[in-house]
Symmetry: C2
Subunit: 480 residues, 2 copies
């Protein structure tokens, strides 16, 4: 363990307080003025030192990083990771940048892609709840590559992470707001993630104000991502290419490549093209005062976030029902997003199951738990889980919020069990505690690292604000 | 010169015949059926050998490749190329893949990006006129990288190029068709170019049917590009990242990474998200019978294609008017695209001038020519060119087709000169001849290569169908 990793109790890192949801279109008068999103984002970034960040934002930047490293190391075991890394090696050959949980060393951009891809492969990562962005992967993966080529302190790294996530989530908020005109088919992490990654990477590379804005523009020009990738390995490729794109944008900007200074907000820019009716003021209103990072949550279950309230309800009933063999019929009332995004029933692959409301509700009822083992091939083929899906109906209740669900289970003897989930586990109101995050970390990282290495890495993540060399995380987390 | 380069007269390569414009929505009944774009594209690709391509398509694949190599070698001299390649080297380090017109060797994906970027840097490349796609760059650059790692014959290379361009242009056609619901702000080469590049690269990498469809999906998931990049170096970055994205998509697919098989056409896929009202049948109607490659044209002037009819008219008047000092007033009647895309007046940089109708019309009147020298910094600062812009008005005439313009010039003595351009140079009706393409090639390539090297490279390009090793073009065209 390197000397900067002091033995501070991780439980001392404070838990964030939920903040008010950001409202849309409350300030429509100012949307007629020049939005100047790129330059305001630059002002925010350059004007915000680590010490300027509220303590809850500082600690949340550590928490989301802990969660991200856990997911990346754990996801390194997947077939998605094997295939992607093999493809990158075929294309680019080996490099020197480590990949968490893997032996291979890759080119910097490929490593950014791979580190983000593994972190998303189990769909176990984080979620900015109001936009369903998974913000940390693209940003953290891009700057972990940067931190291998220049020494970056833990505080510099976490400051860049927090700023990148903030810009990313605010762009997501503008695009995903009701009435923005954007298609719901956009996989928003791919769209905004590269911009956040570019912002963070540009900061760590020592960008000028103009270079920073160029990096945003080059990233915005690459903004992409479709939800049609859900249910396949490519669900992890979308955030992954955002990491690569953001790093490339920052590196080109630093080399003197130029771009218009309003590619996000200007004529034929990202907002006008993707979301012509978006309120651009969402992106800079109370920037540096309200932090979207505080609206980020960490998943307790490895599947689409919109499934989680139903899992909570099914786990509750499983505790009361005894054997699932007694279950005759299941009715789920859910938020519209749960069926829009996770409509699949009787999935046949692990990747389809990640976005199947029916699979996970059934697995939770059959097994009384909802971890990685409930998403594997054996669980998907489990006759009891398949039987429960076949006697399950789900319908949208417009009165339910996104973190809510109702489960109604009828047993063969006529008993009916109800569970009414009003605040799902891992929501802003019921956040994962630091202890739960550490437990999730150990569970995931133990797939790839020895117990001793897991402890060292976990402690190094919690203590990142004290570190002189954030790149150390990449080397500690990789296999030798 | 390698032995396969036989001295065949390039003038023997036949010139294509214009084909009917592809119409939209003529077959709307079939659009209700399952579009199956991805699998039909695969069937087309695997079912089309070099010998199955009509002779005019074969020869057009050579012509567009000649034009592309010319633009790439010439564009290698630009500040855009310097900056981009420096940024890629900072990020990835050096590799082994050559870059046309440059000394540096890059990683394969970076080389694909760089070779496409240089070919677009002068906006002198090709244009699929009905969609304003610049189709050859992303596809040719991606497969030139592939051809460095495995021996690919000239016919295999050109077959992949023709197929990639065909798929690319048909996706562009569906998205850009009036009424598709897509924003006009999409920089369509970035959107469709990666898909064409992925298709061509997958073919040359020996993809199976399933791997080919995966490559299309991974490319579609990265589809991006905004016209807000116009007027900056980033105008060349958009096609360039499409080349990189397409190559990465194909390499990941070949390594067993998976993706949904309907990312272009399926639920939350590219067409439904970008162009919800698009007619998907445009993409496969008469596929293998009608070839969009025959709707591709090569630029005689290094600026936005929509400016070209006005340049033709101004050159015509310059020949008749004598000194431009006598010009008092200029009126341009143009197609709507000319002002939508090239509205800039009195540009201050070379990159803004590339998309300035006013600059180029004025330069053509002042200089009597419209080559690279009319787009450089001296031309932009030329007082006479700036004076002519200031006495120039342009207005849209809805009756004009995209290849048409009217120019009306009033001289100080009261004389009025008219030019009515009904078929611009470089249009399908007045295509660049092979001799004109060779002259353009020599002019551009001589910026970077000796006369002897230019001759060898030019001959190798025209004789590519006889070559056993298409990758040789990359090595011949790079600096040692």
């Amino acid at each position: 363990m390197s000397e900067e990793l002091l033995p501070i109790d991780s439980t001392e890192v404070p838990v964030f307080r939920p903040r008010k949801a950001m409202t849309n279109k409350t300030n429509s008068a100012s949307s007629d003025a020049e939005p100047a999103i790129s330059s305001r984002s630059a002002e925010f970034a350059f004007g915000t030192r680590w010490d300027d960040l509220p303590k809850v934002v500082q600690s949340e930047s550590v928490r989301t990083f802990v969660n991200w490293v856990a997911c990346a190391v754990g996801g390194a075991r997947t077939a998605s990771a094997d295939a992607a890394i093999n493809g990158l090696l075929r294309m680019s050959g080996a490099g020197t940048t480590p990949v968490l949980g893997r032996r291979e060393r890759l080119q910097a951009a490929d490593a950014a892609l791979a580190n983000c891809l593994t972190s998303a492969a189990d769909t176990f990562d984080d979620t900015h709840l109001s936009t369903i962005t998974h913000p940390t992967g693209p940003v953290a993966a891009a700057i972990l590559s940067v931190a291998q080529t220049r020494q970056v302190s833990g505080q510099e790294f976490l400051r860049a992470l927090a700023i990148g996530i903030e810009i990313e989530c605010r762009i997501s908020a503008a695009i995903t707001a009701p009435g923005s005109g954007a298609s719901q088919g956009w996989y928003i992490t791919g769209v905004s993630g590269g911009i956040g990654a570019a912002a963070a990477a540009a900061l760590l590379l020592g960008a000028s104000h103009a270079e920073f804005i160029t990096a945003l523009g080059l990233a915005a020009s690459q903004a992409a991502g479709l939800r049609a990738t859900h249910g396949s390995m490519a669900v992890a490729f979308v955030p992954a290419f955002a990491a690569r794109n953001g790093l490339a944008a920052a590196q080109l900007a630093m080399a003197g490549f130029t771009c218009g200074d309003k590619v996000i907000e200007g004529r034929n820019g990202l907002l006008p093209v993707l979301a012509p009716d978006a309120d651009p003021t969402v992106i800079y209103r109370d920037l540096g005062i309200q932090f979207e990072l505080l609206g980020n949550a960490y998943k307790p279950y490895p599947c689409g976030i919109v499934i989680h309230p139903s899992i909570d309800g099914c786990l509750d009933i499983a505790r009361r029902a005894g054997s699932s063999n007694a279950i005759a019929q299941i009715e789920l009332d859910v938020h519209a997003d749960a069926l829009f995004l996770c409509w699949r029933k009787l999935p046949t692959t692990e990747l389809e199951a990640q976005v199947s409301l029916f699979h996970w509700a059934a697995a939770a009822l059959a097994r009384g738990q909802a971890g990685l083992d409930e998403g594997n091939a054996a669980a998907i083929a489990d006759p009891e889980i398949r039987r429960l899906q076949s006697v399950m109906n789900a319908k949208v209740d417009p009165a339910l919020a996104s973190g809510q669900a109702r489960v109604r289970v009828s047993l063969n003897d006529g008993t009916v069990l109800h569970s009414n989930v009003t605040q799902t586990t891992g929501s802003l109101e019921r956040p994962m505690t630091n202890e739960e995050l550490s437990a999730k970390f150990r569970l995931l990282a133990s797939h790839r690292l020895s117990d001793e290495s897991v402890d060292t890495l976990l402690q190094s993540c919690w203590l990142l604000p004290e570190s002189l060399d954030a790149g150390n995380i990449g080397r500690l987390g990789a296999l030798s």
